[in-house]
Symmetry: C2
Subunit: 203 residues, 2 copies
DNA sequence: TGATTTTTGTACCGACTGGTATATTAATTT
DNA sequence: AAATTAATATACCAGTCGGTACAAAAATCA
């Protein structure tokens, strides 16, 4: 109803809020994946028609990529702050418990759209698939850098292979997304997180 | 070329081998997912036309389900034998190293079709998605039963929560499938397996 | 050989796919 | 008020989707 424009523009005002429309699109992509989502699914969920969608977001592919940006900034907001925790253990702790809480909540689709948005997909989704792989690798790279820093800061044993540790933690986190899709509860994921942390190397 | 029939049947003989055609179908579903695979993709890969496909396999959904059965009996053949290892640790060991070798080999698509065949999908794939979730849960249930047996047999500490341990191992295995899709090598997955085993509870 | 049975290739089905042309509507600018 | 700008709704586009009708072809049975 209200077009919240940062500044008044000439021409007919947009009748929908781009941000909430993008959130709706994200939810559909998250639940159905890129290939499984049709433009009809999108326009229905967003409450707009196709020309409005194309004028505002480009096309299906660009809409998906913008939805992913929104996902990382909001629904998946636990990742970046976790990296700022003072020790490697606390980083892993916050990331694992954050994932446990986030991936199995009923407020949103189960799992993680970066993992399940285009895991196996048609050639039409190749760009999207690559983008998602890159997001996952970037996240793991951030973990690696954080663990290397932890070694210099002394809260992670020097004997630990930071690369393998980052890949191992990434594996558990990504596995938790599948578990959430399987119907695992947050409580179950929390126990998996706990077991993972029991073995986490500390000084 | 040769229709390997168990017994000679009346009528025009089938011009293709059902088993190899099913393998081709499996490979396409594995790479592209259920929604991302079209009948044209299938008939092209299988080297047959649509009426032959429907006569031999039913429809797209039934073809997928039959392809999954084949997957579990062959490409994913490491799972069941691993359960027969004498101790819980060895079960986990064979399962993890089996997955590391299997999910990142160049001989076949990366990852695991049971995980990536229909993770997020359209309503048209709902039956397939449920079937895959059940396969994953069944696998985890087998792990749970094996670990409970191990506790009675004494090679797994009685203090261990078998359910959480099975879920944890399932999480790592499923995470390895995502890692393989990210481009991880078998060597990298082997190191993740190694790190997982370092923390595995033993008597 | 002729009748029967089954698979094959072709051609087609309605429905839906992602995407757009066009005209109308609603705002600002002059 | 007239002109300009941009978003709306409708109707449409070619192409593809999963699935099938139909007739020719290739085997066995009688």
């Amino acid at each position: 109803m209200s077009a919240v424009g940062s500044s008044s523009h000439v021409g007919r005002p947009r009748a929908f809020d781009m941000d909430t429309a993008l959130e709706k699109a994200l939810e559909v992509f998250w639940r159905k994946g890129y290939d499984g989502t049709s433009l009809s699914d999108l326009t229905e969920a967003m409450g707009i028609n196709k020309p409005s969608l194309y004028a505002a977001f480009g096309n299906k592919e660009q809409l998906f990529l913008k939805a992913i940006e929104k996902y990382e900034s909001r629904p998946c907001a636990f990742f970046m702050p976790a990296l700022e925790k003072p020790t490697a253990y606390e980083v892993a702790e916050h990331m694992l418990y954050g994932a446990a809480a986030n991936m199995a909540t009923k407020d949103q689709p189960q799992g993680c759209v970066v993992i399940q948005g285009a895991l196996s997909c048609s050639e039409a989704a190749a760009v999207v698939k690559e983008a998602l792989i890159n997001r996952r690798l970037e996240g793991q790279q951030k973990l690696l850098e954080r663990f290397e820093r932890a070694k210099t800061e002394g809260d992670l044993p020097a004997s630990v292979d930071a690369e393998t540790l980052a890949q191992y933690l990434g594996t558990v986190l990504q596995g938790m997304a599948i578990q959430a899709n399987n119907g695992a509860t947050s409580e179950q994921l929390r126990r998996v997180a706990e077991m993972t942390l029991l073995a986490f190397p500390r000084v």
